[in-house]
C-alpha cells in the first residue's frame, strides 16, 4: 500500500441550471479513483454550491497512481429519475508523485462535458502521501520527471544523457467497439477519454521504468502521440531522451559545467520490453497474427535509380544512399586525422552499446554537440490491421524499430554516430471499407556528440574532453563536417571554415535542431516553407500503399528543391528546425516542409541563382529569361537588405571536392522526373561560378520559378521563424501570446493537375500567414516564433491546415512584465541594428527621469509609426526598479481604482502558454510536471453552435481554459513547450453533428521576471500586483 490519495471537494460555481422549474440545481459530486467511488452530500438548490466535503481517501498502489486519473463527476440529484451528469473533471495526479514537482493540486477546474462543453467550475484539493518503495522489481516509476521541453530544462543541469527511450501501448478504440452502437455518444466519448488517459499514464510509467533501469531520473523531450487507427485500434506511443538531471540551487548560474561524477550508475543494456504489464482494458482474446511477409514493392528499384541520377547534383545536406552498405560508422573515419578518430572511437564506445543512439533534444548544453552532418529521415508506408492482442503490440513496435534502425544507418552513412533533434510522426488515411493506410515518418539530424555526457567512469574523461574542446572552437565547431572529406557520403563542395580556417565545412547545412547558442549568425533569420501537393489515384489497400510509396521520393525531392531554391533566394546557407510533413489523403498527398533559414558566418556565402534556358535560339524567349533572371537577382538583393545579410567579403577557396569540375557549380533542377535524363547534356559553361542554375525547359518550370518569386514578402515589422529563438534578434520582451489557427478548405474540383493543386496549397499557406500578419498588425514590431503548420487531408477534397505560433513582440505586453526592455527593443527595431547585446535586465538603477523616458519612448514610437494606444501603453511605465523606489502617485491611485472595479473574490491567475521551452525575459524557477490532456467534444446541434467554425472555436477556447486551470491548480503560471499534437475534426452536416478530438501537452512551470531579485517568488501575490500595476498604467 504505497500511496494514499486524498481529495476534497470544496465548492462549485456558475453551474448550469438543471431544474427548469426552479432555475436551480441540486448538485453533488462523485469522486472516483480506480474502482473506489465516494460521494459528497447533495447541495440543494444552488448554482454555487459549497460542499466543503471531508477528505476522501484512496489507498492505492503507486502503479495505479501513475496510470489512473482522478475522476470527478458533478451530478444533479433527481428524486424521481436518474441523476443527470453535469460534467467531469479528470485530474492527472502524476505531478504529485515527484517530490520536486507540485505538492498539492488546488484550484478551480472547468467542469467539462463532451456534449455541452464547459459547464461551470469546481474547486478541488488533491494531495498524495507517498511511501517510498525501494523494491527492485516494482512496476511503478514514481519520481521520474518528465519534460516535453526538448532542451535541458532551465533550472537543471545535466549530469548524464542516457539516450533514447520509447514505449508503445495499444488498445481497442472504444468508439469502434460493438457496444458503441447502443450506448450514447457521451458515454462513448467518455470511455475514450478515460482510456486514453489511462494509456498515457501507463505509457509514462513504463517509460519511467526504463529510465530507472538506465540509471536516469528524468525524460527530456518527451513526445507522446496518439494514432487513431480507426478499427485497427488506438496506439499511444512515446519517445524521449533519458537523462540524469541535477537541480540547480537558485543561486547557481545555469551554465556551470562542473564535472561531478556522482552519478556513476552503469549503463544497462538496451531497453527491453521487459515491462509489458497487461493494460487494463484489454479483453480481446489473443489471436495469432497472420502473414508477416514484408512486401518489397517495385518502389525500391525505381527509387534507387532515381537516387543515383539525382544525387550527384545535391549539396552537402543531401547525401546519397549509395553508401548505405558501408558497414559500421567506424570505417568512415579511417582516413581522418588522429584526433577525429580518437573522438570517434571514444564516443563510439559510449554509443555503440545502445540500440538507438537517438536523442529527441533540439537544444543542447554547451559542448554537447560536436559536429552536425545533415538531416536524416525515413518514411514507411504501412497497411493497418486490427490489433489483435493489445498486450503484445509487437507489430507496431517492429515497424518503429525498423525505422529507427534505418535512421541509425543513415546517420552512419554521414559519418555520424548519433541522431539528434529526432521526432516521429504518422499520417493515417481512413477509408470506409478498406484498410487504412499509414505513413510512418521519422526524422532527425545526424551528429557527433561529446561523449562526456554519455558515460562516465572513463578514466581519461577529463583529458580527452580537453582535447575535444580544442579540436572544435566553440562557435563554429558544429558546422565542421563529421565525415571524411576523401570519402564523402555524397558529393559536396567543401571549403575551409570561414571562422577558424582550419576545418572543412559544407556549403549548405540542413538540420532539425535549434540554432545552437554558440553559433555565429550574420543578419536575421526567416521562416522558409516548401509546399507541395501531388495528386494520387484513388485506390485501396495494397495498390494504394504502393502508389503512395511511389510518390513519396518525388515529393521529398521536390520539397528539398524548393527549400534549396528559397534558401538561395534569401542568400542564406543553413536551415534549422526543419520539419517535413507528408500527409496522405484519398486522392492527393500533401507535403509541407518548414524551417528557419539563417546565414551562418562559418559557412561560405551562397551563390546566386541563375536561370538557363533550354532553347537559346529563340530571341523573345531569351529576353523572357533575362527579365526573369533580373527579377531573381533583384529579389536576392532585396532579401539581403531585408535580412541584413552583409557578410564580410572573403576570397573563395574551394577545396577538396573529390568530384570533378561540374560539381563546382552545383545545379538546381526542376524536380520533375523528366529532367533527370537531361542532366548530363547541359552545358554549364555560361553559369557563373557557384551559382545555382535553374533550368527552364517547359512551362511547368516557368511556373515553378514564378511561384518561387511570388512568395508574399513578410510585412515590415514582422519576423517569423519556426525555431525557439529568432536568429539575429536578441532582445525580447517577455512572451505574450500564443495562437492556434485551424482552417479547412474544400476543393470544389477534384480533377486538378499537380500544378493547380500546388498553386492552391501554396495559396492556403500564404493566406494563413497573411491572416496572422493582419491580425497581429497592431503589435508590430513583433516576432512570430515557433510558427508551425500541420496539414492533413481529413476527407476527400478537404485540406486542413493548422498553425500555431507564439507571438513575441518587442513592445507590447498587457500583463505588464518587462517594460524595462522596451527601450532596447525599440532601438533594435527603429535602427535595425543587430549588434544589440546589452543585457536586458538592468541592475537596480536609481529612479529614472520619468518624463524624459516617456518622451524618448514616444519619439521612437512615432518613428515606428505606431498606433496611439501603443504609445500610451509604452510611454507610461518605466524601468521596473523605478516602480519600486520612485513613488508614482498617479499610477498608484489608478491601479487602486482598477482593483476596486474588479469583483470581489480571487481573480483568476493569468497563465501563459507558449510552444517555446522558455518565456523570454523571465526565469523558470520550478517545473511542476507534465500536462498531457486529451479531449473530445461532440455536438448534435452544429448549426445552433455557429457552424463548424463556431463549434471548433469554442472547443479550442475550452481546451485552453482547461489547460490553464490545471496549470494554475498545480501552482504554476505558465505552460511551456506547449503543443497541440492532434486536432481531428469530423462533421456530418446532414445530421447537424460534429466531433473533434484534441490532444495538448506541455510543461507546467513557475516563472518569475528576470528583474525580480527574490529567489523564491511570492507567486500569486506578485502576479496580481504586477498585473494590476500594469493595468494602472494603461
Amino acid at each position: 500500500m504505497p500511496g494514499k490519495l486524498k481529495a476534497k471537494i470544496v465548492a462549485g460555481r456558475h453551474l448550469p441550471v438543471m431544474d427548469r422549474a426552479s432555475d436551480l440545481t441540486d448538485a453533488f459530486v462523485e469522486v472516483k479513483f480506480g474502482n473506489t467511488t465516494f460521494k459528497t452530500d447533495v447541495f440543494p438548490k444552488s448554482l454555487n454550491p459549497q460542499w466543503n466535503s471531508e477528505w476522501f481517501k484512496f489507498e492505492v498502489d503507486d502503479e495505479d497512481l501513475q496510470d489512473e486519473p482522478l475522476q470527478i463527476t458533478v451530478l444533479d440529484h433527481d428524486t424521481y429519475s436518474a441523476n443527470d451528469a453535469i460534467g467531469k473533471v479528470y485530474i492527472d495526479i502524476d505531478p504529485l508523485l515527484s517530490c520536486e514537482a507540485a505538492t498539492v493540486i488546488s484550484g478551480w477546474f472547468p467542469i467539462y462535458d463532451t456534449i455541452h462543453g464547459i459547464r461551470g467550475e469546481i474547486n478541488v484539493l488533491v494531495k498524495v502521501d507517498l511511501f517510498n518503495d525501494l523494491n527492485r522489481f516494482r512496476q511503478s516509476s514514481c519520481g521520474v520527471k518528465f519534460f516535453c521541453t526538448t532542451s535541458i530544462p532551465r533550472c537543471y543541469r545535466v549530469a548524464l544523457v542516457h539516450g533514447f527511450v520509447e514505449e508503445l501501448v495499444v488498445n481497442e478504440d472504444p468508439e469502434y467497439q460493438w457496444i458503441d452502437r447502443i450506448r450514447t455518444p457521451r458515454a462513448s466519448n467518455e470511455a475514450r477519454q478515460r482510456l486514453i488517459s489511462l494509456m498515457s499514464g501507463e505509457l509514462q510509467r513504463k517509460i519511467g521504468l526504463k529510465v530507472l533501469e538506465m540509471g536516469g531520473n528524468a525524460v527530456v523531450g518527451y513526445l507522446q502521440c496518439f494514432d487513431l487507427e480507426g478499427e485497427s485500434g488506438l496506439v499511444v506511443r512515446a519517445i524521449g531522451t533519458a537523462c540524469t538531471l541535477d537541480k540547480l540551487s537558485p543561486g547557481t548560474a545555469p551554465n556551470t559545467t562542473t564535472h561531478t561524477n556522482t552519478h556513476t550508475l552503469p549503463n544497462t543494456a538496451p531497453a527491453s520490453n521487459a515491462c509489458n504489464s497487461p493494460s487494463k482494458d484489454s479483453k480481446e482474446s489473443p489471436l495469432a497474427h497472420g502473414c508477416r511477409s514484408t512486401h518489397n514493392s517495385p518502389v525500391h528499384s525505381t527509387c534507387s535509380s532515381q537516387r543515383l541520377s539525382h544525387s550527384q547534383n545535391f549539396s552537402v545536406s543531401v547525401p546519397t544512399l549509395v553508401f548505405t552498405g558501408m558497414g559500421s560508422g567506424g570505417s568512415v573515419g579511417k582516413e581522418a586525422g588522429p584526433l577525429k578518430t580518437l573522438l570517434r572511437q571514444h564516443t563510439q564506445s559510449a554509443l555503440e552499446q545502445r540500440e538507438f543512439p537517438i536523442f529527441t533534444l533540439t537544444c543542447f548544453p554547451p559542448g554537447f554537440l560536436v559536429h552536425v552532418g545533415g538531416v536524416v529521415s525515413t518514411r514507411s508506408v504501412k497497411l493497418l490491421d486490427r490489433i489483435h492482442n493489445p498486450d503484445e503490440p509487437e507489430t507496431r513496435d517492429a515497424w518503429w524499430e525498423e525505422i529507427r534502425q534505418e535512421i541509425k544507418s543513415h546517420a552512419k552513412a554521414l559519418g555520424c554516430h548519433a541522431v539528434v533533434g529526432y521526432s516521429e510522426s504518422t499520417s493515417i488515411w481512413y477509408t470506409l471499407y478498406f484498410k487504412e493506410v499509414c505513413i510512418l515518418s521519422a526524422s532527425g539530424t545526424a551528429a557527433m556528440l561529446n561523449p562526456r555526457f554519455m558515460r562516465e567512469g572513463c578514466l581519461d574523461t577529463g583529458g580527452s574532453d580537453h582535447r575535444f574542446e580544442d579540436a572544435s572552437p566553440p562557435s563554429c565547431g558544429f558546422v565542421h563536417i563529421p565525415y571524411d572529406e576523401f570519402n564523402m557520403p555524397f558529393p559536396a563542395q567543401l571549403t575551409y571554415c570561414y571562422h577558424c580556417r582550419r576545418q572543412k565545412v559544407p556549403d549548405v547545412l540542413f538540420t532539425t535542431i535549434d540554432l545552437p547558442a554558440e553559433a555565429e549568425v550574420t543578419g536575421k533569420g526567416c521562416l522558409i516553407q516548401a509546399r507541395l501537393c501531388r495528386t494520387k489515384k484513388k485506390a485501396q489497400g495494397e495498390v494504394n500503399a504502393t502508389s503512395i510509396s511511389n510518390l513519396l521520393p518525388f515529393m521529398e525531392y521536390e520539397l528539398h528543391t524548393q527549400l534549396m531554391n528559397k534558401l538561395k533566394l534569401r542568400s542564406m546557407n543553413a536551415l534549422f528546425g526543419l520539419r517535413i510533413q507528408i500527409s496522405v489523403g484519398e486522392n492527393m498527398l500533401l507535403g509541407l516542409a518548414s524551417a528557419t533559414g539563417v546565414y551562418l558566418s562559418a559557412l561560405p556565402a551562397p551563390g546566386g541563382i541563375q536561370i538557363a534556358g533550354k532553347t537559346p535560339s529563340d530571341l523573345s524567349y531569351d529576353q523572357h529569361i533575362s527579365t526573369m533572371q533580373k527579377r531573381i537577382d533583384d529579389t536576392i538583393a532585396k532579401n539581403k537588405e531585408l535580412y541584413n545579410i552583409h557578410p564580410p567579403e572573403c576570397i573563395e577557396e574551394v577545396v577538396g571536392s573529390p568530384i570533378p569540375d561540374r560539381q563546382r557549380s552545383s545545379r538546381l533542377f526542376r524536380s520533375t522526373s523528366e529532367s533527370s535524363d537531361e542532366l548530363s547534356e547541359l552545358d554549364l559553361s555560361h553559369g557563373k561560378k557557384d551559382a545555382f542554375v535553374l533550368e527552364i525547359d517547359d512551362t511547368d518550370a516557368v511556373e515553378d520559378i514564378q511561384s518561387l518569386l511570388t512568395d508574399a514578402p513578410i510585412p515590415a515589422g514582422f519576423y517569423s521563424c519556426n525555431t525557439e529563438v529568432m536568429p539575429g534578434i536578441y532582445n525580447w520582451t517577455s512572451g505574450l501570446q500564443m495562437f492556434t489557427s485551424v482552417r479547412v478548405y474544400r476543393l470544389s474540383n477534384a480533377n486538378l493537375t499537380n500544378q493547380g493543386l500546388n498553386k492552391i496549397f501554396t495559396d492556403l499557406c500564404e493566406n494563413l500567414l497573411k491572416s496572422l500578419y493582419f491580425k497581429l498588425r497592431s503589435m508590430i514590431p513583433c516576432c512570430l516564433c515557433h510558427l508551425n503548420f500541420t496539414v492533413a487531408v481529413p476527407e476527400e477534397e478537404l485540406i486542413q491546415v493548422r498553425g500555431h505560433t507564439y507571438l513575441s513582440t518587442p513592445l507590447q505586453s498587457w500583463s505588464g512584465e518587462n517594460e524595462e526592455q522596451l527601450q532596447f527593443s525599440m532601438e533594435l527595431c527603429g535602427e535595425s541594428t543587430i549588434s544589440n547585446n546589452q543585457p536586458t535586465a538592468k541592475p537596480s538603477a536609481p529612479s529614472v527621469d520619468y518624463g524624459s523616458f516617456a518622451d524618448r519612448c514616444s519619439t521612437w514610437l512615432e518613428l515606428l509609426r505606431l498606433k496611439a494606444h501603443t504609445i500610451r501603453r509604452g510611454s507610461v511605465k518605466t524601468i521596473s526598479s523605478s516602480e519600486r523606489c520612485s513613488p508614482l502617485p498617479e499610477g498608484r491611485s489608478r491601479s487602486l481604482r482598477s482593483t476596486r472595479s474588479l469583483p470581489c473574490g480571487a481573480p483568476v491567475t493569468v497563465v501563459k502558454m507558449t510552444p517555446l521551452s522558455f518565456l523570454p525575459g523571465t526565469r523558470i524557477v520550478k517545473y511542476l510536471g507534465i500536462i498531457n490532456m486529451f479531449f473530445i467534444r461532440e455536438t448534435t446541434s452544429l448549426r445552433e453552435e455557429g457552424g463548424v467554425s463556431g463549434f471548433l472555436h469554442s472547443f479550442i477556447a475550452e481546451v485552453f481554459a482547461m489547460v490553464r486551470a490545471h496549470v494554475a491548480a498545480l501552482g504554476g503560471n505558465a505552460l511551456v513547450s506547449y503543443s497541440m499534437k492532434e486536432c481531428v475534426f469530423m462533421e456530418n452536416p446532414n445530421k447537424n453533428q460534429a466531433q473533434c478530438l484534441i490532444n495538448v501537452s506541455g510543461d507546467a512551470v513557475i516563472f518569475i521576471r528576470e528583474s525580480d531579485q527574490e529567489a523564491i517568488p511570492p507567486l500569486l501575490s506578485s502576479r496580481q500586483t504586477s498585473s494590476t500595476g500594469a493595468d494602472g498604467t494603461t
Binding site: L432, F739, K775, A957, R964
Partner: protein, 408 residues
C-alpha cells in the same frame, strides 16, 4: 533515409482484404454524394477562388484578442459583410496589404469571440472569474463599458416606458426612427431590462448598486440609475413638448430626484431602495399650497421677489406680470405629486407650467437663475410660511431641473 535522398519504402504485413463496415465512426460518415455540406444556419463559406472554399476558419489565442473597432461594429449591430465593407473603406487593407478575404476571416473570428463573450457580459462580475477567456483586466473593463454604453437617441425613445415585452416588440419602429440597427436596439433594451431587474431587488444606493453589479464607470452607472428610475416611475418623456430635451437633461434631473427626493436621499442605510420617491415628503408637499392659496402670502412673496429683481434683468416686467401664474404652476406641481399619474407628468408639467411661459417671454438662462434663486430665498423671509425645510428640498431640485431643461 538521408534526407533529400530516397528512402526504401516497405509495405507493412499483408493481410487479405476484408470488408470493413465501420472505419469512420458511422455517426460521422457523410455519404460522398451528400452534396453541399453547408447547413442552413452555417455562415456561407468564403469563396477564395473558383477552386476552393473555406469550410472552417478559426483563430484562437491563449489571451483572447479583440479589435476594438470590430467590437464597435458588432455592438452597433453590423452584419459581418457590412463590417467588412466599412473596414475596407476605412483603409485597413492598404495599411498592411491584406486581401478582402483576410479581412473577412478576421471579422468572423472576432464576431464569434464576441458572441461567445456575450453570455458573460450579461453578468459582468462573472467575466473576471470565469476561466474560458483569458482577458486582461483593462480589456474586461473596456468590453463591459462598451457593451453597456447606449445610444442617446435610442434611450430617449424608451426612457420612462415600461421595460416590458410589449415595448420590446415595438423596437423595430424605434430602430427605423433612430437609425440604430434593430440588433443594437435589442441589446440596449435588454441591458436596461437586466439592470432594472437586478437592482429592483437590492437595497441601498441605486448608483452604487449598479456600479458594483455591472462594474460600470461612475458616469455610466449614473445614466443607468436614471434609466431605471425613469422606468420605475414611468415618467412621461415622449410628448412632443418634451422632444427638445436630451437624455442627458433627463439623466441630470433623475440624478437630482434620486439624491434629494427618495428615501435613500436622507439615510442611505435605509431598508428600502431609492427608486421610489419618498411618500412622506410628497405628502408634506401639499402643505406648500399655502403659498398660493393665502392671498397675503402670495402678494408678500411677489413683492419680495420683485424688490430683489428690480433693475437686475431686462425681463423684469414680464416676471412681475407672470409671477402669480408661475408660482401657482410650481406649487401646484408640488401639491399634486402624491398622485402617481401626476408624478408621471412631472416633466411635462414643468415645461407647460413654467418653462414655456418663460420662454415665450424670452427669459435668458441668467434671468431664469436669478428668478429662481430669489423666488426660493424670498420664501424664507415670509414669516407666516412654516415649511422651510420641505420648500428647500422641493425647490432645490426644481431649480436645478429647470435650469438644466431651460434651453432650446
Amino acid at each position: 533515409m538521408v534526407w533529400g535522398m530516397f528512402p526504401c519504402h516497405t509495405l507493412g504485413p499483408l493481410i487479405p482484404v476484408e470488408q470493413r463496415l465501420n472505419a469512420i465512426p458511422c455517426r460521422f460518415y457523410a455519404p460522398k454524394n451528400s452534396g453541399c455540406s453547408e447547413g442552413k444556419g452555417v455562415p456561407d463559406p468564403v469563396r477564395t477562388n473558383a477552386k476552393m472554399s473555406v469550410e472552417l476558419d478559426v483563430f484562437v489565442g491563449n489571451t483572447t484578442i479583440m479589435d476594438e473597432e470590430v467590437y464597435q461594429f458588432w455592438l452597433d449591430g453590423y452584419t459581418v459583410n457590412d463590417a467588412v465593407k466599412v473596414r475596407m473603406e476605412g483603409g485597413v487593407l492598404e495599411e498592411c496589404e491584406a486581401s478582402a478575404e483576410v479581412l473577412r476571416s478576421d471579422t468572423m473570428d472576432q464576431y464569434r469571440t464576441f458572441q461567445m463573450c456575450e453570455r458573460l457580459l450579461h453578468s459582468p462580475a462573472k467575466l473576471a472569474n470565469q476561466l474560458l477567456f483569458q482577458i486582461p483586466p483593462h480589456r474586461q473593463a473596456m468590453l463591459i463599458e462598451r457593451y453597456y454604453t447606449f445610444d442617446g437617441l435610442f434611450v430617449r425613445e424608451v426612457l420612462g416606458k415600461k421595460l416590458s415585452k410589449g415595448t420590446k416588440k415595438d423596437l423595430d419602429d424605434v430602430s427605423a426612427k433612430t437609425g440604430v440597427t434593430l440588433k443594437s436596439c435589442r441589446r440596449q433594451f435588454d441591458n436596461f431590462k437586466r439592470v432594472f431587474k437586478v437592482v429592483e431587488e437590492l437595497k441601498g444606493p441605486l448608483v452604487e448598486n449598479i456600479r458594483q453589479h455591472f462594474l460600470l464607470s461612475d458616469k455610466l452607472a449614473r445614466d443607468y440609475a436614471a434609466i431605471v428610475f425613469f422606468a420605475n416611475n414611468r415618467f412621461e418623456t415622449g410628448k412632443k413638448k418634451l422632444h427638445y430635451l436630451t437624455f442627458q437633461d433627463f439623466a441630470f434631473c433623475a440624478g437630482q430626484l434620486i439624491s434629494n427626493w427618495t428615501v435613500g436621499a436622507l439615510d442611505n442605510m435605509v431598508e428600502d431602495m431609492d427608486v421610489d420617491l419618498e411618500k412622506e415628503f410628497l405628502q408634506d408637499l401639499k402643505e406648500l399650497k399655502i403659498l398660493i392659496t393665502d392671498k397675503d402670502l402670495l402678494d408678500q412673496h411677489k413683492s419680495l421677489v420683485c424688490t430683489a429683481l428690480r433693475g437686475k434683468t431686462k425681463a423684469f416686467n414680464e416676471m412681475e406680470a407672470n409671477f402669480k401664474n408661475l408660482s401657482r404652476g410650481l406649487v401646484n406641481i408640488a401639491a399634486k405629486l402624491t398622485n402617481t399619474k401626476d408624478v408621471r407628468d412631472f416633466f411635462i408639467d414643468l415645461v407647460e407650467k413654467f418653462i414655456e411661459p418663460c420662454r415665450s417671454d424670452k427669459w435668458t438662462a441668467g434671468d431664469m437663475r436669478l428668478y429662481l434663486t430669489h423666488y426660493t430665498n424670498s420664501a424664507h423671509i415670509l414669516d407666516t410660511f412654516k415649511h422651510q425645510v420641505v420648500w428647500d428640498r422641493y425647490m432645490g431640485v426644481i431649480k436645478s431641473c429647470i435650469l438644466k431643461m431651460y434651453h432650446d
